[in-house]
């Protein structure tokens, strides 16, 4: 198996007690202690007013992370291919739909319905950034981050073009929480490029293996890693926050983990 290799040009991150990448980087470098707090999200100003009103949590989450990554890289979004990776669609919206359908009056609102598609965040992204490039939405339950990273790296290597990976998952309300216990929102974006020349956060090379996935020493961060599929990326982020050099093993599918080599 040939490793898939790309250069990381920009990072975006938002999660519980982590307001964007510089803040998360300080936590992951252990420059300050991690204190989990509810994820704070704002409706991105990039969306037209109508879409901004209709945008749910997952849309705000994905756009916040994605916009931070392209801003960090100074990369225009219009021609940028995107890979969205998420375990599911918007859990709150799904709850509202299923509750309505189970009631005596099963009539849904059009906004609820169009927000129910798993590519809602991808659709809002393309509208907000006027990006007409290809966009996909990859789902692999708890392995969704790994699946998204593989897809984005394959696009960079095979299609020889930059690709923005945005992995995100938001909280599921009860009673869905009891069967899918995702407690809060976490979003990570990586702008990946085949171009080695310009500055960035380093080089990433991936292949599959059967080693055990890395865990995090800090108990609260490890608990976050396990609780939200997109947060399975945390060992990679920790390496990027610290030396940017080393070997990271991420959770992927049963019997198959993602082995990453990072170099500056």
């Amino acid at each position: 198996m040939q490793p898939l290799t790309a250069y990381i040009k920009g990072i975006g991150l938002v999660g519980p007690g982590m307001d964007l990448w510089p803040d998360a980087r300080a936590i992951l470098r252990a420059e300050r202690p991690y204190s989990p707090q509810a994820t704070r999200l704002q409706a991105p100003a990039a969306l037209p007013a109508t879409e901004r009103r209709r945008a749910g949590t997952v849309v705000r989450l994905a756009l916040t992370a994605g916009l931070e990554a392209i801003a960090a890289a100074g990369h225009a979004p219009q021609d940028l291919a995107t890979v969205f990776a998420s375990s599911g669609a918007d859990g709150s919206n799904c709850h509202a739909i299923c509750a309505t359908l189970a009631s005596g009056d099963p009539l849904l609102s059009p906004t609820r319905f169009h927000n129910s598609v798993s590519n809602a965040a991808a659709g809002y992204w393309s509208i907000a950034t006027q990006a007409s490039a290809p966009s996909t939405v990859v789902c692999a339950h708890d392995a969704s981050f790994g699946a998204g990273l593989i897809e984005a790296l394959a696009q960079v290597v095979v299609d020889q073009r930059p690709c923005l990976l945005i992995a995100y998952d938001a909280a599921y309300p009860e009673p869905l929480y009891s069967v899918r216990p995702i407690p809060d929102a976490f979003g990570i974006a990586l702008l990946l490029s085949p171009d080695a020349s310009s500055a960035g956060a380093g080089r990433i090379s991936a292949r599959l293996g059967d080693e055990t996935a890395d865990t995090l020493q800090d108990a609260a961060l490890e608990s976050l890693r396990r609780a939200i599929p997109a947060a399975r990326s945390l060992p990679l982020l920790q390496c990027l926050a610290r030396s940017g050099t080393g070997r990271v093993v991420l959770d992927y599918l049963p019997g198959s983990q993602l082995l990453l080599e990072l170099t500056p």
Binding site: V117, C139, H141, A154, V179, L208
Partner: protein, 418 residues
């Protein structure tokens, strides 16, 4: 792009289980659409339902994956010797060298809808034994198929609404090209659910009659369900005569609106152009186009403009959704299989649809009798060679469109390898 061999394929939809039944229905221009039963939804619409799905039983070891969607997947896998072909490929190449890339829009949400009807009236809790991961989670169908065959390669579900199971071909192609796998199970599975039925109803996009793509009186979609699978492989050194290959792939985003296409079909045109470029083909090399053709007024108009802009008004084209219904996340896979059948048998399927007389200025009269076959009228504002009858003619290259909510567009080109 380097072409890929479509070594085996199968489809199960409202027009039949497997290729023989599907081809027979296409030859007869038969439609599988039926009135939506009151027990399913209280809506005046037609649906394309697959018979016998509920009677399927998953292997006991995979009981956790039980859902109507996975039962439909299993029914589909059992047709045309597809399961045997996958097992042989896994034995020949090694299970870790075979990936799984499937599309779905609503996955097994039907099971969550059912569970919500059985919530505890006091606590609101879902019934015990409800398994979200195996049923509703978007990955459930790929997880099930991967475990069913004991495969170890990369796996993903693509969920981009109605382009889902076209986009999977791109993901599988990249993994094969990157050398991570040698073959992939691709396709799509989507099953009827209330979210889709009442959702499209909320957008006033459901027709009260069997859908009639590109008809002058078209007024909405008929929702269907399907399981379609293809085994795709790196091209071998020598090909059988008549082998069918994936020769082109193109994608784009409308960047326009969440639930309406760009009125001029901007994204549709971009996706088709990208597919032609990746195949290295001029537009006039395409012998037949399987349109997305959902039968909503705006979709068909936008796609029609894009097709006319690129191909002119001469290329034979049709939508097969009048036969199968719009199978949403399975549509790209189902229509890729129909294109493969078209190439194999030299059959350009005419739209299995009827026209209805205009009922004055009011809303369409659902009770009106369809017009006779020879009175069918395609939309005079769309200048395409839209086929209302089958044409038997050898085909070399065919193109299939799949467009979804969120402005997600995908286009495939399938060819006979000579």
């Amino acid at each position: 792009m380097r072409p890929l061999l479509l070594s085996h394929f199968t489809a199960t939809s409202a027009i039949g289980r497997g290729l023989d039944a599907s081809l027979d229905a296409l030859r007869r221009q038969a439609s599988g659409l039926m009135p939506c039963p009151a027990g399913l939804a209280d809506l005046q619409t037609y649906i394309g339902m697959v018979a016998g799905v509920d009677q399927q039983r998953l292997p006991s070891a995979l009981h956790a994956y039980d859902s109507r969607n996975n039962r439909l997947a299993l029914l589909g896998l059992q047709q045309d010797g597809f399961s045997e072909a996958v097992k042989q490929a896994a034995a020949r190449l090694g299970p870790a060298r075979v990936g799984v890339f499937l599309g779905t829009s609503t996955s097994g949400i039907l099971e969550t809808e059912r569970a919500y009807r059985q919530r505890d009236p006091h606590s609101g809790a879902l019934p015990g034994g409800f398994n979200y991961q195996g049923s509703h989670s978007n990955f459930a169908v790929a997880d099930f198929v991967r475990r069913y065959f004991g495969l170890g390669g990369p796996a993903q579900v693509v969920s981009t609404a109605c382009s889902s199971s076209a986009k999977v071909f791109g993901a599988a192609r990249r993994m094969i090209e990157a050398g991570w796998i040698d073959a992939a199970v691709v396709g799509g599975v989507d099953s009827l659910c209330l979210t889709a039925l009442y959702g499209f109803n909320s957008l006033e996009l459901l027709s009260s009659r069997p859908c009639s793509p590109y008809d002058s009186q078209r007024d909405g979609i008929s929702i269907g369900e399907a399981a379609a699978f293809m085994l795709i492989e790196r091209l071998p050194d020598s090909l059988d005569a008549g082998a069918i290959v994936l020769s082109g792939f193109g994608e784009s985003s409308d960047a326009y609106h969440m639930s309406s296409p760009h009125p001029e079909g901007r994204g549709a045109s971009q996706a088709m152009s990208a597919a032609l470029a990746s195949a290295g083909l001029p537009a006039d090399a395409i012998d037949y186009i399987n349109l997305h053709g959902t039968a909503t007024p705006s979709n068909d108009r936008a796609e029609g403009r894009a097709v006319e802009g690129l191909f002119g008004a001469g290329t034979p084209c049709s939508s097969t959704k009048g036969a199968s219904g719009h199978t949403l996340g399975a549509a790209g896979g189902l229509e890729a299989v129909i294109c493969a059948l078209a190439l194999r048998h030299g059959l350009m399927p005419g739209g299995a649809q009827r026209s209805w007389p205009q009922a004055g200025d009011g809303p369409p009269d659902a009770a009106a009798a369809p017009m006779a076959r020879n009175e069918r009228i395609t939309d005079p504002d769309i200048q395409l060679n839209y086929l209302l009858d089958n044409i038997q003619h050898p085909l070399q290259h065919v193109l299939s469109n799949s467009f979804g909510f969120g402005g997600s567009n995908c286009c495939l080109i399938l060819s006979r390898a000579n």
